[in-house]
Assembly symmetry: C2
Homo-oligomer: 402 residues x 2
């Protein structure tokens, strides 16, 4: 049977290939630490579960396609607290940030179109872009510049007649980069001058460490036609399993096109939307501060632990809960197999996300890995220690075999 070339161009998760080795290691009694999973262990606020438990109707009916009214209003009010003025008509509730991304790509890209994405980037972007027929033109960023990319010199030479949009993650996954005000302004100006959409994935908005105020690209009201924001409750409220995100734009044509997709899929989950509305309604600055401080502690532990490892290079992340680390090894994929198949220290080993999957450019990121710091400080400390021991053992074995 024949399949579409768009789906043929997509890949299964690169992490999957390690799954059998992980299962085998566990079967040998090895405890595997996880630096590879973006699932926080922070409790979901009770307000979510209370709202779901208090659902009163006998029938779990469809929600409206654009979203439950109380949730749309709660999101509008939340944006007002960070200085962004929106109408509920500028918001569509989506099935996680993922559906918002998928819908935007389907609306703005077609066969042969290009979208600029700073590299390394969130790998699932590739799937949604490929399905639309578009392709990623990577904006190069590198460990040397701390993965910052938002300059005219870097971006403008990449723009051609096929370019439709720039897609950024801010705060960044996998890099932890937070855009400066100047960088944001530069991106907005480039989008305006070249008639591009600027799609800003801001699902980690609250998780920033430098004391700056919360912000959104939607602050640039003069670029109303260009700016599209992807949002989600997953990280903000540690509620990844509730599939509630949002697509936000003052470009009413875009919203109207995306609504066609929302109507096609009928609605996002009714109960999850009730829970999400309660989360926004009960959100306090104290909650955000507490979550941020927890992640800051974890970041500090990771940074401190990594600093002790010889030959390891990285930059302390400014936001989100990830960082890219360059390891003193030839191939992070091979190291991962070694860590699962041959290595153990006191019955323990560690997993991470190898860097190559975060690059569109072939052979880039071979010596890099992404670390997610979503577990507790003790576990993180031990995980990084295991990484260091594993690197040493791997390089010793490599040298011995030469």
């Amino acid at each position: 049977m024949k399949f579409s070339k768009h789906i043929e161009a997509c890949s299964l998760s690169p992490i999957r290939k390690f799954h059998p080795c992980m299962v085998a290691a566990q079967a040998r009694g090895i405890h595997v630490h996880h630096l590879n999973i973006g699932q926080p262990d922070v409790p979901t606020p009770r307000a979510f579960f209370d709202a779901v438990r208090n659902f009163q109707s006998d029938v779990l009916a469809y929600a409206p396609s654009p979203g439950v009214e109380t949730l749309l209003e709660a999101m509008r009010d939340y944006y007002r607290t960070i200085g962004v003025s929106l109408s509920v008509d500028d918001i569509l509730v989506t099935v996680g940030g993922s559906e918002a991304l998928q819908a935007v790509m389907a609306c703005i890209l077609e066969e042969g179109d290009e979208i600029l994405v700073p590299e390394p980037f969130y790998p699932n972007y590739t799937t949604f872009i490929n399905l639309s027929g578009g392709r990623i033109r990577p904006i190069p960023a590198s460990p040397e510049t701390g993965y910052h990319y938002a300059s005219r010199e870097t971006i403008e030479p990449l723009i051609n007649e096929h370019t439709r949009a720039i897609l950024v993650t801010n705060p960044g996954n996998p890099t932890g980069v937070v855009l400066t005000d100047d960088e944001k302004r530069t991106l907005v100006e480039i989008a305006q001058e070249h008639n591009l959409f600027l799609v800003s994935d801001e699902v980690y908005r609250e998780i920033i460490y430098s004391g700056e105020a919360l912000s959104s690209m939607l602050e640039f009201e003069d670029a109303a036609e260009n700016i599209v924001v992807i949002d989600s409750i997953s990280k903000r409220f540690s509620s990844c399993g509730a599939r509630v995100g949002a697509l936000l734009s003052r470009n009413q044509q875009l919203i109207s096109h995306a609504l066609k997709i929302c109507q096609g899929r009928l609605c996002a989950a009714t109960l999850d939307q009730m829970g999400a509305a309660a989360l926004y309604q009960s959100m306090t600055p104290e909650y955000c501060t507490e979550v941020r401080e927890e992640y800051r502690r974890r970041r500090d532990v990771v940074v401190e632990s990594l600093s002790k490892l010889p030959g390891v290079r990285f930059r302390s992340p400014e936001g989100a809960f990830y960082l890219m680390v360059t390891l003193p090894v030839d191939d992070a994929d091979k190291l991962q197999y070694f860590l699962l198949d041959e290595f153990e220290d006191n019955g323990e080993t560690v997993m991470y996300a190898p860097g190559e999957g975060f690059y569109a450019t072939p052979n880039h990121g071979r010596s890099e890995i992404r670390i997610a710091y979503v577990t507790n400080p003790d576990d993180l400390r031990r995980s990084i220690e295991l990484l260091g021991l594993g690197i040493a053992a791997y390089n010793q074995k490599q040298e011995a075999s030469q």
Copy 2:
């Protein structure tokens, strides 16, 4: 700003245009009866809400991308009860049947491909097919043949080098047609001989009125490569707001391709999946019988009431909870505006879904409407009565103006 031609080819729901008139009618104090909405009023089984309330973890975490294991197993066991043997690897949990449809279309269609769909059909199919770049080639069915379509003479002349699949809804929305065993066998053979996917949307499986056993296209094990089934808990358990569906196929290449999309969107809602697993685990034949009998009563009321209306033509539906009705009017769209803007009987009027939106062929279905019989018998009786009164008033006005 430029938008993709695929999204430009999609439409907003044709029902939306009546919304302002409905709001205006309600503002005048008119009570509007709804024959236009597929939202059943049957209570959702308590097992769903109990499972959701009993969720124990502090963190609402991502579910696995292919679906929660207990739900996959419960679905497999459910299929066993209707005589279909599947492995959990043949099933992907999706965000409603809608996501399953969207994923299948993205996997099997590309620019210029054609998919055969019996007409009239569920309008949202158009959105998912357009987004993939494919197009619908309608298999003509008509009121005269009771909307049956599954014969070689009707289908084979429509197959060409662009044809990739046949998509059917069984039991049918909007027609209420249930395929006979011979018709199913014919479709399977055509798919096999012409190397086509046979995508069978079976979300109304339980709602059949002729005493036949529950069935699925998946029974045809000899066509494992061809057959893809779309399923959902929405209608089976009156739980439309829980976005839990499934994509089922023994074609492991298809499942592997669709899994790429499932991984891209991370997971379906965790709580809804818990609830869905409980629904399947606690499902009894008595529950299905009760629901079926309730819909049969409603169907009988609709059929009896429609039989009293002069000039109205229809065929008693064999399944699902819809039927197409040909009205003795020039234009069902115009009649709907008349019913909302000018008509009332005792302060009441009625809405339906005009037929044109269910056809891809231009100007077809102008005198047809789709009725959904999901409300209680008294309301249905009165709704059909209002329809009859409205038709008479509309035709009288038309004649008077000539």
